[in-house]
């Protein structure tokens, strides 16, 4: 790790002022950044601790929720408003990492966390377009069990590893950004970029900007929603596939629906085609199958990750069938 300076920002303005320079990084819980610094993947010279920035979790004016970017993941999952109004979000956060990591991790850091691609994380031994643009991608012909089947490019097939963001995507989360030029808001589903030719540029956030809050509109899904994570061991492992589903039913038909996937794409994957196909439909196996195929028609399957297509389909079908059944 390079020598670093450390300072704690007392306010957003303070943070913006300190964080502008070359080599500066915002430090949340550090669960991702400190690890990357130790591995040499990231080599900042200045850390600006943003955990003293707003971390409240409150009812928003529209009846939704506003979550300060410095809120710890565990605080979000434990919050009564989240547990009753957005259980899918609480479940997704609780599916991630360990209790210790969740106590440290901030919402801002979680949204901004980097991929767990093995080659991205191996500075000395692997080529990676995300780390060193143009150097090549060792994952494509290598171990890509955790890699994308949707949204990847010839340059990069890394997945975004967050569980929380999958639920935020399904819940129409908005990312509130502060920058030198003022504040702006970006839907979470538009916050992360697909790799294309530039896998090194992962989000729409400018280096001079910071994430200050996430807001969620009121959600109709509390009664029928779920987050299911499929992984290589029972706990403390990243998702192979995860699915967030929220439903409302009118008689036997889908009224509103929201579906997002984790573990299969470079970003939390909101499945608009599945939603479109199922809105107003009854949740028959054939309807689900057709909807799924619409979303995954152009999936790129590699030897190491091809199984995820079937896995995603089966997991989604089981969840929809259960959630669409008689209300609990």
């Amino acid at each position: 790790m390079n020598p670093i300076s450390y300072s704690r920002a007392a306010s957003v303005a303070d943070a913006l002022h300190m964080a502008g320079g070359q080599g500066a990084r915002l430090l949340g819980g550090g669960t991702n950044l400190v690890d990357l610094m130790r591995k040499g993947v990231d080599t900042p010279s200045q850390l600006v601790d943003v955990t003293a920035l707003p971390d409240g979790i409150d009812r928003a004016e529209d009846g939704g929720l506003i979550i300060g970017a410095a809120a710890r993941n565990s605080a979000v999952a434990a919050h009564p408003l989240v547990r009753s109004g957005y259980p899918m979000l609480a479940r997704a956060i609780l599916a991630a990492a360990s209790a210790q990591v969740r106590n440290m991790a901030t919402v801002g850091g979680n949204v901004m966390q980097r991929t767990r691609c093995l080659y991205f994380n191996d500075v000395a031994g692997a080529r990676c377009n995300k780390r060193v643009p143009g150097s090549g991608c060792d994952a494509i012909g290598g171990f890509n069990r955790y890699h994308a089947i949707l949204g990847g490019s010839d340059a990069c097939i890394a997945t975004h590893p967050s569980d929380m963001c999958v639920a935020l995507a399904a819940l129409d989360g908005q990312v509130h950004i502060a920058g030198p030029a003022g504040e702006r808001t970006v839907p979470l589903v538009a916050f992360h970029r697909l790799p294309g030719e530039r896998p090194d540029i992962e989000t729409v956030l400018d280096p001079t900007e910071i994430v200050v809050a996430i807001t969620l509109p009121p959600s109709p899904f509390a009664a029928r929603s779920a987050y299911r994570k499929v992984r290589d061991r029972a706990s403390y492992a990243f998702a192979l596939v995860s699915v967030a589903v929220g439903l409302t039913m009118r008689e036997d038909r889908v009224d509103a629906i929201s579906v997002a996937f984790g573990g299969i794409a470079p970003k939390p994957w909101r499945a608009a085609r599945i939603e479109d196909a199922l809105r107003g439909a009854s949740l028959s196996p054939s309807a689900i199958e057709k909807a799924f195929e619409a979303e995954f028609a152009d999936a790129t399957l590699l030897p190491g990750n091809g199984f995820k297509r079937g896995l995603a389909k089966r997991t989604l079908s089981a969840m929809l069938t259960e959630l669409g059944g008689p209300a609990q």
Binding site: Y6, L27, G30, D35, N103, Y236
Partner: protein
């Protein structure tokens, strides 16, 4: 500012790269906190930061400035064991003993979390504010602490025993 460790104040290190773990082990010689990976992946370095369990390997010591840290040394001594420490001995909740301080610190905080109504991934009704502490609940909540010797059964038995819900 200072870092309070087991009730005593210490200055933060000059080198901002020093992790809380290395501050404890190398500078304060509080070696009860262990290092298993330095990657956030094993839980051996678990300490309590303002009473919450965190990984000291991924915490920079400067981040703990103005906060209070409790390590295994602050929980109990050989003469006056913490109930969890005694239960770990009784249930043979360790073999090599290397993951043990982290397990015990994690378990201490875990029981507080349960008392405060914190749900887990396995909690069926997330909206409920009382947690029924099943064996599986404890297993899930402790899954951030790896043990390679395979003392898992003894560890969970010890925790359930202290939680007062021991079942045979």
């Amino acid at each position: 500012m200072t870092i309070k460790v087991n009730g005593q104040d210490f200055p933060p290190p000059d080198d901002a790269r020093v992790s809380l773990l290395d501050l404890l082990r190398e500078q304060l010689h509080l070696t009860g906190t262990k290092v298993g990976c330095n990657q956030g992946a094993c839980g051996a370095c678990t300490v309590l930061l303002d009473s919450r369990r965190v990984l000291s390997c991924l915490t920079l010591a400067v981040q703990a400035d103005g906060r209070s840290v409790t390590t295994i040394e602050g929980l109990g001594t050989a003469e006056a064991l913490h109930p969890l420490q005694a239960a770990f001995i009784e249930h043979d909740g360790f073999q090599c003993g290397y993951c043990t301080p982290g397990q015990i610190c994690a378990a201490t905080a875990m029981l507080e979390e349960v008392a405060a109504g914190m749900p887990s991934y396995l909690t069926v009704d997330l909206a409920a504010d009382r947690i029924t502490l099943s064996r599986e609940e404890v297993q899930e909540r402790m899954s951030g602490n790896l043990c390679r010797c395979g003392a898992h059964n003894g560890i969970i038995d010890a925790i359930l025993d202290v939680a007062g819900e021991h079942r045979p």
